[in-house]
């Protein structure tokens, strides 16, 4: 795994440098991408969803692009404004169960691009085949790999330095020989190298370095046993947090419903997926292929076998509600920039030291609720009187064994 990453790292970096990747959906361009990102959750080209089918929409608005653009930008205002197509818009509103189309933060050019796409989009039968699943999966490089690669680079640089210093010494020796007019003779040089290599002190230092380095490596290895930072398993569905949490801005709690209630944040049940994917059949990347798996699970009643990424040992009790609902932590504080993760991975170390560190640093606001005020009355009074300047989780017993081990 690691060697593979290394082998491909340099070409990858070169590639990255070569294509300072232009965003795929440019401001003016690609109407299809804009459509999928902004409209597809409620509209389909040829089928009624929450909103009407959009093929031929420009014709239905009698080619009045200006009116249509204004409507898209703010449909509510448009209906009230009494513009030429307001009556038509109100009729539409009534026809679709008075579901208001939210105002869209798109500029005229983008709307133009979408409308162009709507006009030119190929009919359903001729639609491009969906991209094969697996395309472009796993582009992200976990932090750990980056760090070890960095260490290797430093090592290579150090070796290069040593080589350069050696070369400079040789050249200097040669120059000195020429200046002094003596024939070039490396004997002294050789013997000094020999003396250097057989020097006890040097040998001791080298051995010591090796021992310390080895011990350090062994120590690191032992402490990494059972820790899986950066773990990025392949999931049964190529689900992208980047798309859902990042671009579509869906609240984490919409899917992870248990996070404020209990121990488990919970994997969303398929019916939660289906709230949206009942309507959204196509994704921007894999088309219908991945979403079809959800529908299949829903229809067959066979659960999706997600691979757990964050695993704690059996003897550890961790409760999401305590941290999210009570302490008010953001998900990202432990799970990292989820909204940027195409493939979800374990961001934090999840070692006991990592937990403890946080409990040492995090402050608890005793004014947060009556619970803390009533339970920790003395600490509360000490805070008020300035005797204490802060109350950390540790002060409330957050480092004690039986808070997590029972």
């Amino acid at each position: 795994m690691k060697s593979l990453a290394l082998r491909w790292m340099f070409p990858a970096i070169l590639l990255l440098l070569a294509f300072v990747a232009p965003p795929r959906a440019s401001a003016q361009g690609d109407g299809e991408v804009l459509f999928n990102a902004n409209c597809a959750s409620c509209h389909n080209l040829d089928r009624k969803l929450t909103g009407p089918a959009l093929r031929g929409v420009v014709d239905r608005w009698d080619g009045e692009l200006g009116e249509l653009t204004a409507f898209i930008k703010n449909s509510q205002a448009y209906m009230k404004a009494g513009r030429p197509k307001s009556a038509y818009a109100t009729a539409l509103y009534n026809e679709y169960n008075k579901t208001l189309m939210p105002a869209q933060a798109l500029n005229d050019d983008q709307i133009g691009a979408i409308l162009t796409y709507l006009k030119d989009a190929p009919p359903p039968a001729a639609a491009a085949p969906a991209a094969a699943p697996g395309d472009g999966v796993g582009a992200s490089i976990p932090d750990a790999t980056i760090y070890s690669s960095f260490a290797l680079l430093v090592g290579i640089l150090l070796l290069a330095c040593v080589f350069i210093i050696f070369a400079i010494a040789v050249i200097a020796h040669a120059i000195r020989a020429r200046e002094q007019g003596i024939p070039l003779n490396f004997d002294g040089f050789r013997s000094s190298i020999r003396a250097f290599l057989t020097n006890r002190f040097v040998a001791t230092v080298v051995v010591l370095l090796l021992v310390v380095g080895g011990a350090n490596a062994a120590y690191d290895f032992v402490w990494s046993v059972g820790l899986h930072q950066g773990y990025t398993p392949v999931q049964p569905i190529a689900y992208s947090h980047k798309l859902h949490a990042g671009e579509l801005q869906i609240d984490c709690k919409y899917c992870h419903v248990g996070v404020e209630k209990g121990k488990s944040a919970t994997f969303p049940s398929v019916n939660i997926c289906m709230n949206c994917h009942n309507l959204v059949e196509e994704g921007p990347k894999y088309g219908k292929a991945e979403i079809a798996k959800i529908r299949e699970a829903y229809e067959s009643g066979k659960p999706i076998e997600w691979v757990r990424i964050h695993n704690l040992p059996d003897f550890v009790y961790f409760n999401h509600a305590q941290h999210v609902k009570v302490a008010g932590l953001e998900c990202q504080e432990c799970h990292g920039p989820v909204e940027e993760m195409e493939d979800m991975y374990q961001h934090s170390r999840l070692s006991m030291g990592w937990c403890i560190n946080c409990h040492r640093q995090k402050e608890v606001d005793l004014n947060k609720s009556e619970y803390y005020q009533a339970t920790y009355a003395q600490l509360h009074a000490d805070m008020e009187s300035g005797k204490l300047d802060k109350v950390t989780v540790e002060k409330l017993g957050g480092l004690e064994c039986a808070r997590c081990h029972y």
Partner: protein, 1022 residues
């Protein structure tokens, strides 16, 4: 005041130096390592060799691959039910009734799996706690031994086929007028009663026999005769100031003992003035739980019971002008019957006389006594009769006759096992061969189903629909808490199909049954409410009690006088029940390992032999003996039992199952055949002969190890001495506390400080808490062999101490006071000491103190030096000597996937080499704190109930935050100590800490036991 002597075993009492040395050792039986190596458990087998080989390869592979993550899957619901949230428990109301005990319950389900039983506070019948058997019942659902598919002959068959065959045969039989019998235990489900009635209509020639292995026919028939109703009255022990029991173990096993425990203790709890405590007087042969809790206990022979009841009757009749029965010449030693009569007469309408006898004449006399005392109405209610027993001896003996004479064509057994529990079960089983169609509906195969053509796998009660009417007008519902684990079907569904009603399932039938019966409102609404609450109360008239028919008493006097002669010189055997019950639950490892409340023996039954007989016949505990009664004999080990009546021996029922799962198979011997059967029905005693036989046995007794070194760990007094006792105690304590110094830095808890108070007056010693703790905390079962070595894992145990104070008046000055022991029960669990001796000896800080006053045990840190256990003065730490949860040597534990479903996912399963102990149910503390934090409200007092406290029907255990001055525990806690770090507290006089003088500063306080005993002189004079 005379200094009391407490002892936990006869060896200890004897003061024999050798025995004491042995007892005080940490490992009484010698070096545990030697034993472990030699024991069968560790003997290398081919399997073990392969395991070690596998481990070698596995660990090499693990090391090589330890940077790789094991792949774990998470399977969310496809369509998540709204009420289910992973990691959050749901509670469903249901009903537990095993034919002996009724509990309205809440079933805790995690991720769809029932894992724990709790009492249902909405219930009027059992609002508090559960029985040990109810707690253990959840384990029997995940029993590997369950029947997984219907069996026909020797083959596993499909339901459609089996049902089709039986239906056809039943049809043919009934067409030619064949005789069909349906045999069930007492059915308390009103809808099932209706259904069986319909079945009998559909197939004429059907008769339904309700069969109680331990019969209550006598009391039912007596009430039929006396009041015209074949019912048992409702007993209100909470309204009785004096209770006189003749062999009715109503706190342990008799009738509705969970309910009775809750009721009875309400009159045993007090705050400051003990003068209102009720009195309990028990006449019995073997020391039962009720006898152990009695204020006055008089050992009698079972053949004296009727005569003594007669005597009591006439004493009371003489005083009240009631009908004399005559013929009563017998009196108990010490004139206790006359004394009891005086006490009863002083509390007319506020007393109860109860008898466990199955003799209708005895029960008639008892009913007459209660009537004369005016108890019918105030303390015994026939307006709200009890339906928990319905069996009729007459019907059962008729059935036996029919079976033996070969008159029957078909017999259907439903969840019953007469081949095991009938006195002549073997003969009954033989005779079954004469019947064409034999069907048994059973959860797992038993001695009866084995002999049947069809064994139909029924649902466990946690998988079943149903309803219950324990008392007239009190209903409770039974709802499934999980889909059937196997290919099983409720017997009600089968009955419907036999009747050809394939379209109706029992659920629909049940709903139809309840339509219009659940009060005002739409049916859906009332039905939902019924399911939610689990109970429904229909108002029942509070009119007059039915009239007593005076002529019912005709001939009772002479009958009793002639039958109950005391058989002087004749040894009698008494058969009794313990927590195992009548035999259905014998396969439950939690119940098998729960020590008998009195003898503290696990995993066996045995012969209780009185001290005097032991001395005369040379019996020692663990000798073997043969008991002959009638045509039957059993061979069992002997246990010398203080308090056993001198001419009786005792044997527990429910053991000796021969077709059973791994836990109950061939444990002990079956004592049912020893029963006496006469024209008045079967009786739980008989004339017997006991002879010593060769060999010795090793009973697994949980309370022989450990001595108390003469320390004052039990504190008790009597009502009349209460005030001076506590005053003196408080003075002594004050003086003692000022002598204590500590090397420890003072401990303070900034937030909560958890504490427990245990009322020794309320604890009856039943052991429900022990099983509840097993279930809640995934406590391992270790089996007989390991208990013998003193390695039981129970986090809470109930110590039973005998004490010597001579009761009021032993008949003979030469008698050994140990024959009249007083009994105290003391629940003992980790005391969560603030200056804990265990904490400072742990070399790896695996056990440390929390800021909330908890003594924490970090399993993942512990590496098993066992210093802590050695240094614990309360001996409550438990060590995992062996791998109890992963080897198939310990078959009783959930070692397979099925069994593991019962584990509480919030509690770690401990590995070998790790110390464990009570955590005060830390998982519940954390959960309740979290709820309070989520709501932003202070933690309410009582929001946290450890499993033991929640299961306690007596409400003897209080738990809470001692730093919260308004909490119940704070009001029941001892006065603060003079140390500056102990926050000031007024203190409750009755509270004390166990061995406080060694300054462990425990977090558990006990309340002094107060016996309600009249001064000695008064008793003798009476």
């Amino acid at each position: 005041m005379e200094e009391k002597r407490y002892w936990s075993s006869l060896e200890q009492r004897s003061g024999n130096p050798e025995a004491l040395t042995n007892l005080s050792q940490e490992f009484p039986g010698g070096d545990p390592f030697d034993q472990a190596v030699q024991s069968e458990v560790l003997r290398t087998s081919r399997r073990d060799f392969l395991k070690v080989l596998g481990f070698g390869i596995g660990s090499a592979a693990t090391l090589a691959a330890c940077t790789q993550t094991p792949v774990k899957y998470a399977l969310p619901y496809v369509n998540k039910p709204v009420e289910v949230m992973p990691s959050i428990a749901d509670y469903y109301a249901s009903t537990y009734y095993d034919g002996t005990d009724y509990n309205s319950i809440l079933v805790k389900c995690r991720e769809g799996r029932p894992i724990k039983i709790e009492g249902n506070p909405s219930s009027r019948v059992t609002p508090q706690g559960t029985s040990a058997a109810a707690q253990a019942s959840v384990l029997s659902m995940y029993d590997n031994n369950r029947l997984r598919k219907p069996r026909a002959g020797k083959a596993r068959k499909d339901w459609a086929e089996v049902i089709g065959q039986i239906r056809q045969k039943l049809g043919e039989l009934s067409a030619r007028g064949g005789q069909i019998r349906v045999v069930t235990p007492t059915v308390i489900s009103p809808s099932t009663r209706k259904l069986i009635g319909e079945f009998a209509e559909k197939f004429p020639g059907t008769r339904w026999v309700e069969y109680d292995p331990v019969s209550y026919s006598g009391i039912l028939d007596a009430h039929q005769k006396a009041f015209g109703q074949r019912v048992i009255p409702q007993y209100h022990f909470d309204k009785a100031d004096v209770v006189v029991s003749f062999g009715a173990d109503f706190l342990g096993t008799w009738l509705s003992h969970t309910e009775f425990t809750s009721d009875w203790v309400t009159k045993r709890k007090f705050r400051d003035d003990p003068s209102q405590l009720s009195r309990l007087i028990v006449f019995e042969s073997h020391l039962s739980l009720t006898g152990a809790n009695a204020d006055t206990r008089i050992p009698i022979k079972p053949s004296m019971e009727g005569a003594l009841v007669l005597k009591l009757h006439d004493e009371i009749a003489a005083a009240t002008g009631g009908p004399m029965l005559g013929g009563g010449g017998m009196e108990a030693p010490g004139n206790y019957v006359a004394a009891a009569a005086q006490e009863l007469l002083a509390k007319r309408g506020r007393s109860i006389v109860v008898s466990g006898s199955n003799d209708p004449d005895v029960q008639l006399a008892v009913a007459s006594i209660n009537r004369m005392l005016g108890n019918y109405g105030p303390t015994l209610d026939l307006q709200r009769p009890c339906y928990l027993r319905r069996g009729s001896d007459e019907a059962v003996s008729e059935l036996v006759r029919e079976v033996e004479s070969g008159q029957l064509d078909a017999i259907i057994f439903i969840n019953t096992n007469p081949v095991y529990s009938l006195p002549n079960g073997k003969g009954f089983g033989e005779a079954l061969k004469k019947i064409d169609l034999k069907v048994a509906h059973v959860v797992s195969e038993n001695e009866t189903s084995e002999l049947c053509d069809y064994a139909l796998a029924t649902n466990h009660y946690l998988e079943s629909w149903g309803d219950a009417e324990p008392y007239l007008g009190s209903y409770s519902v039974q709802q499934p808490t999980i889909r059937p684990l196997f290919d099983t079907m409720q017997f009600q569904d089968c009955l419907l199909r036999y009747m050809g009603q394939d379209g109706t399932d029992y659920y629909t039938y049940l709903r139809n049954f309840w339509k219009g019966k659940l009060g005002d409102g739409s049916f859906e609404e009332t039905w939902k409410n019924f399911l939610h609450e689990g109970v429904y109360e229909r108002g029942v008239g509070t009119g007059d009690q039915p009239a007593f028919k005076g002529d019912a008493l005709g001939g009772v006097g002479s009958a009793l006088a002639s039958r109950y002669t005391g058989n002087k010189g004749q040894t009698e055997v008494v058969l009794y029940l313990n927590s195992i019950g009548t035999g259905d639950a014998s396969d439950n490892p939690w119940l098998q390992e729960l020590p008998d409340p009195i003898t503290k023996v696990t995993w066996d039954n045995y012969i209780l032999v009185p001290l005097k007989m032991a001395q005369e016949m040379g019996f020692k505990t663990n000798d073997r003996a043969k008991v002959e009664a009638g045509r039957y004999s059993v061979e069992l080990p002997v246990l010398v039992q203080p308090g056993q009546q001198a001419e009786t021996i005792g044997i527990a029922l429910g053991y000796g199952r021969t077709k059973c799962g791994k836990a109950g198979q061939d444990v002990g011997a079956n004592a049912y055949p020893l029963m006496l059967i006469d024209e008045n029905g079967p009786h739980l005693f008989n004339k017997a002969k006991i002879t010593k036989i060769e060999g010795r046995y090793g009973l697994a007794i949980s309370q022989t190890h450990g001595t108390i070194m003469g320390r004052n760990i039990i504190r008790e007094t009597t009502v009349s001495e209460y005030k001076p006792y506590v005053t003196k105690y408080q003075e002594e304590r004050e003086a003692m506390l000022h002598h204590l110094v500590s090397l420890y830095p003072p401990f303070r808890s900034p937030g909560h400080h958890w504490a427990m108070v245990i009322d020794l007056n309320a604890c009856t010693g039943c052991g429900a808490c022990v099983v509840a703790c097993n279930a809640e905390n995934n406590v391992s079962v270790v089996g007989r062999e390991e208990v013998r070595r003193g390695r039981e894992m129970h986090w809470i145990r109930i110590d039973r101490y005998y004490s010597d104070t001579t009761p009021e008046n032993p008949t003979d000055a030469n008698e050994d006071p140990a024959e009249y022991p007083e009994v105290v029960f003391q629940p003992m669990l980790c005391q969560h000491c603030d200056d804990a001796p265990c904490e400072n000896v742990c070399p790896v800080l695996a056990t440390v103190h929390s800021s909330e006053g908890l003594n924490q045990q970090a399993y993942n840190r512990c590496f098993g030096t066992r210093y802590c256990a050695n240094n614990c003065p309360y001996k409550v730490r438990r060590f995992n000597w062996l791998d109890y949860t992963n080897t198939d040597k310990f078959i009783y534990n959930p070692v397979d996937d099925l069994g593991r479903m019962v584990l509480n996912p919030d509690v770690t399963v401990r590995a070998r080499g790790v110390m464990e102990k009570c955590s005060f149910c830390q998982q519940r503390i954390q959960a309740a704190k979290l709820e309070a934090k989520k709501a932003g409200k202070p933690l309410a007092d009582g929001a946290i109930q450890p499993a033991c406290a929640q299961a306690c029907a007596a409400g003897a255990i209080y738990f809470g935050d001692i730093n919260n001055a308004d909490s119940v525990v704070a009001s029941l806690y001892p006065k603060h100590s003079p140390f500056e770090y102990d926050p000031p507290r007024k203190g409750y006089d009755r509270a004390y800490f166990v061995i406080e003088e060694i300054k462990t500063r425990p977090s558990i306080a006990y309340l002094v036991k107060v016996r309600n005993r009249p001064p000695v002189a008064a008793a003798v004079k009476a």
